[in-house]
Amino acid sequence: MITLGRIALTLALVFSMASVLFLALGMRWDRKDLLRNGYYAVYAFFLTTVVASAVLLQAFLKKDFSFSYVAENSDASLSTFYRIAGFWAGQQGSFLLWLLLIAVVAVVIALVNLNKVERLTGGAVMVMCVIGAVFAALMVLDKGSKPFLAAEPGTQPFGLNPLLLHPAMVLHPPALFIGYVGLSVPFAFGISTLLLGRGDKLWVTLSQKWAVAGWLFLSLGVGLGAWWAYVVLSFGGYWGWDPVESTSLVPWLTATALLHAFTLYKSRGLFRHWALGLAAATFWFTILATWTTRTGLIQSVHAFEKNPLLVWILSGLLVVTAAATSGLMAWRWRRFQSHDQVESIVSRDFLYYLTNLLLTLFAVAVAFTTVAVPLLMNKTVGPSTFNAIAQPLGVVMLALIAICPLLAWRKTEGAELRKTLILPLVTAVLLVPLWLYLGFQSNVWGFIGLLVCGFAVGAVIQFVLRSARRAAGPGKSLWSGLGRAFTGSRTRTAAYVVHFGMILVVAGLIGSNVYKHEETALVKVKAGQTASIAGYTLTYKGMTGNTGPQSSTRSFATFAVTRGGTQIGTLAPHTDAYPASGAAVRAVIIGRPFEDLFVVADDPFDSTSKSIALRMIIFPLVRWVWLGSILLCVGAVVSLWPKARRQEQEARAAVPAADADGRLDGASA
């Protein structure tokens, strides 16, 4: 079986290169037969990748520890769910999953276009196959990336890292990879349209849904990673600006900018260079994220790298991508000159521009401080530096989210602007009692941020109401238009939901970072001992033990939690002691609508301990981060949902084409 996997992988490399060759020639000479042959090679590339993946998957399912990779990432005691997760628990399997996803996307694009073969799509599939060939080559050539190696005789299965035994961590890597691959499609079409010198919007039309889907999965991946860090890693937070986290955020930022650039590219022909640049940057940053994670150049305690081939191949991909994109863009610069211009500073166009600029700067700053500062300046910065960049920028961008939909395209008159500001201002004021009740006046910057959040909520409501009024038509009640304000345009409905979700995320980030409150207490192991934080009292009840995952011994210290005299629950922070790899403390959380009580022991404890070093943290509004993240994904799903034909006609009828927002609707149709 190992040999079969290895052969399939080698063939995948051959077929991906063959399709690159056919598609490149077909594109160059505009020959449909060559393009079609290229597509056939893509099918073969896809099938061989599926075979390779199936071989590895069956090895995990059948507990075939003769595969070195399976022995390293699984053991006989794991459930089927976690045995499947072993597939992407290490580098080799992650690359194979990535390759499989590239092949899936390439074959879908090829299948959809087999009957209307044309050069633009052929070029995009070619770029996908180039990326696929690089990953296949990595797995064929680089020893540390080979998924199909025989285990040394007598190897004991390692099992899965216990920290990864959590559903969020099973889903986090595939979500990220789907996001990365989805977001490489706009790059592939961008390169193709540059090669052909086609300055029209077809490449955007063909890749926009892929970009939205990629963004959706990347959001999901980043969110799941944060949630896992919060509930499993137990370090007292969900985001530590670790290089791996930071570099997965960077492509999310540029992808967000890309989606906005696409909207205006399609509707108005604006941001054409931006769209190309952002598509390339997003892809480049996904490779940079992998480069950071896999080469270990940034994190390693030791400055030397053990795996030079991997570094060379990934660095080569980064250099070639950057050089090819900038070269092609310089060559075709004039063909992508915008038809239109940003006319006024007080317009939606300008704020779109500002949003894109700030998102890009933010992305570059995070990438620079994460990667370039340690490598080039031999220095390192901590979370406080990233926060100092992210916090003000986050609030400014939130303000842009708030104001942007209120302004008209092109230019907004002062009187009109003042009128639309009333509702957001009122909402900001109405929410002040809530912030005061939660005690948020203690930090002025956080308070300002939350005022902006309140304003932004009002702006979203205003946005919905305005669309409703327009949909209802003159003389009819607002309510009659409210339904249509949501069903009228998928893009616009998605914008309401995503923007509202983003406001919740930012409010949650402000609450849980700025107003985080932490106490430590050394609690004697004796029933009735107490520790307290901000109105909560924890009373020690006793210690129990059972068997945790991977034959670990799990010790629970149980506390009754009371608030204002009434018991609100029990918490049992625990320690997992693994026979092979030491002990890990695990946090427990009581969630309330406005704050979480997070409790973890500072040191591992067991039944022989005399006292427990307890760390208690209050995270205000942290649930809003999760809720908001879910809304981001819901919004993306809304915009991807295929339209029923009847609805589409209704939507067309409901929103006249000349309507200012109609331009945006045109983009989604």
Binding site: L233, G236, D242, V244, T293, K379, A580, G582, V600
Partner: protein, 141 residues
Amino acid sequence: MNKKSRTRLLIATGVIVVVFVIGVVFLVQKQGAYYRQVSDLTTGQYDGKNVKVGGKVLDGTINRDASGVHFTIQDLTGKPETVKVTYSGQMPNTFNSGVDVVVIGKYASTGGVISADQLQTKCPSKYKGQASSAPTPSAAQ
């Protein structure tokens, strides 16, 4: 094509980019920690500076009191130098005697102590090569 608004747009962009770049460079200069070995610290030039240092936690040096945890780490390049560390934040799960840690914080040459505000551990043995630290989901990828 409106030349005036185009110029304005360029100026606005330029101002934003320049302010932003200066801000980031300033922050990195001010808050960045030098990545050094334990043996580099004794030269004295890092007194009062932020440093990031890797080292092995020496057996029997871990003490906990009201102000936090105190321990001593030894140079990783095989040199005999050691440095004391004081830390009061959340402990990483795998922290113990004998593990390799990375500490980030301000170094004071009087007393030879690093007041760490970050402490990360490298996994000792089982999960080969996968760095794990308190704030690090890196083991996952």
